[in-house]
Subunit: 248 residues, 2 copies
DNA sequence: CGGTACTCTTGATCTGGGTCAATGTTCCAA
DNA sequence: TTGGAACATTGACCCAGATCAAGAGTACCG
């Protein structure tokens, strides 16, 4: 969830490099071969549900392209997004039979899945897979805790700025114009999804986005295309301590 | 953080059983011996800081007795607790040099620590330690995400009830009177600490605790000693879906 | 085209929880 | 036994964000 995971695409595993790197950092050939045997792809359209909370989940996997969300819902319908799954992020829990959250594709989505029991077996035999997974899980835990601060203590404006910062930062490597701090990206979420992530209502999200626009912190082209003329300013609005250790 | 970790005390590692079980579920004798070599104890008084966010952290460890909190603070002083460390909970991150959060003892605290680099070395050599740690980290991640729902979507009253539920549940095995759903425990946190955990102010915490008392959901003896006459009622107030999968 | 179904924006009003302030309760130390 | 420090309660008032309501784009389909 929202970590910077310096995934370098390896030449040796051409077909599905991101997942292999995500699962097995060292990418040794025999392991890759074994992973190859138990893997398969699944595609989803924007809006489709990958899995419902409580359903049997007999695979683990990672996002190849597109974006998915992890959400929890209370009986009365209040929902909270608890994770945003971006390419290379891992889903599923070795050693648990059913899904703990709803996983929904917010854009068209391709996932690379591994059948769970052979994957678990392989994890038992291949120590550094468990170590890699531990590393990734610790990153997610940090991200979740960072988000607890956002949810518990930030104002609506700071929340929006925080969300925009992470999305911007993750696209930064791709879109940042050299020597400038200008960043441009497309919002992969509706106002409602943003609200669910931030613990706000969609009206408040809309108002605060408008306010940030009016104040020149961001520029909007259409509803979804965002330009941040000055990232420093945005980070400042987010209330992050300078550098923005957020999601690092 | 707040997971039920069915730690059974093993006879073979009498001196410091909880940590060994926490770190190494299978508890084989040669590994225990190696852990023994690199472990040491640290004691803290209530209120002492174990480590400040950003400080070099050259150990990992787990809580033997007492309670510690994990908190983040913004420059302007707003603070959010992101974890509650109870006996058997693990602290520290293999592969990271500095602490990400302030760790503070809220009661007298004993920790069992392992020097980080030999521990990491051992983890490399002993696969199931990494697997055990992965399991624990996944539990913590679930707990953190569960808490995101509390912070983002629950009302003040529900937040208080949620917090009381977890504390009650964790003490349940010890204090629950057979065949009754009555639970009694001491709050290990000040009103302010509760507020920091719940994303509220201490005044609101105080008011809601009083309200739950007035409505007969809880009984108070002094400020800290709580009796829950009917756990079902409390869980209901917390808005948890029936069973209370929370922190399970 | 015109319709209908989303998604988003904006306004008006209400309210839960924050803020400010005063008072209570323990408990310890002088 | 009294003073003070830390923790807790309670009241009065206020405001950020929720709620309710009315449009405005935008896109797709018959």
């Amino acid at each position: 969830m929202l970590n910077e995971r310096s995934i370098t695409v390896s030449q040796d595993c051409a077909e599905c490099p991101i997942r292999h790197r995500a699962v097995c950092a060292r990418c040794e050939s025999d392991e890759l071969e074994r992973l190859e045997e138990i893997k398969y792809y699944r595609k989803f359209e924007a809006g489709q549900t990958v899995i419902w909370s409580g359903d049997r989940m007999d695979f683990v996997g990672s996002v190849v392209s597109g974006i998915a969300t992890l959400t929890q819902t209370m009986e009365d319908g209040r929902t909270q997004m608890v994770g945003l799954l971006l390419p290379s992020d891992f889903v599923g829990r070795p050693g648990r039979a059913s899904a703990a959250y709803d996983v929904v594709a917010t854009t068209d989505l391709v996932m690379c899945c591994f059948r769970k029991s052979p994957f678990e077996e392989m994890m038992r035999q291949t120590p550094h897979i468990a170590q890699r997974l531990l590393e990734m899980t610790l990153d997610e835990l940090d991200a979740a805790r960072e988000w607890m601060l956002v949810l518990g203590r930030k104002t609506a404006r700071e929340k929006i700025a925080s969300l925009l910062s992470i999305i911007a930062r993750r696209d930064a490597s791709i879109n940042m114009r050299a020597a400038s701090s200008t960043v441009t990206f497309d919002l992969p979420l509706t106002r409602e999804a943003m609200a669910d992530y931030l613990g706000l209502t969609l009206e408040t999200v809309s108002r605060q986005v408008s306010a940030l626009k009016k104040d020149g912190v961001i520029e909007l082209e259409g509803k979804r295309h965002v330009t941040v003329p000055d990232m420093t300013r945005l980070l400042d609005e987010a209330g992050d301590d300078s550098d923005g250790g957020m999601f690092a």
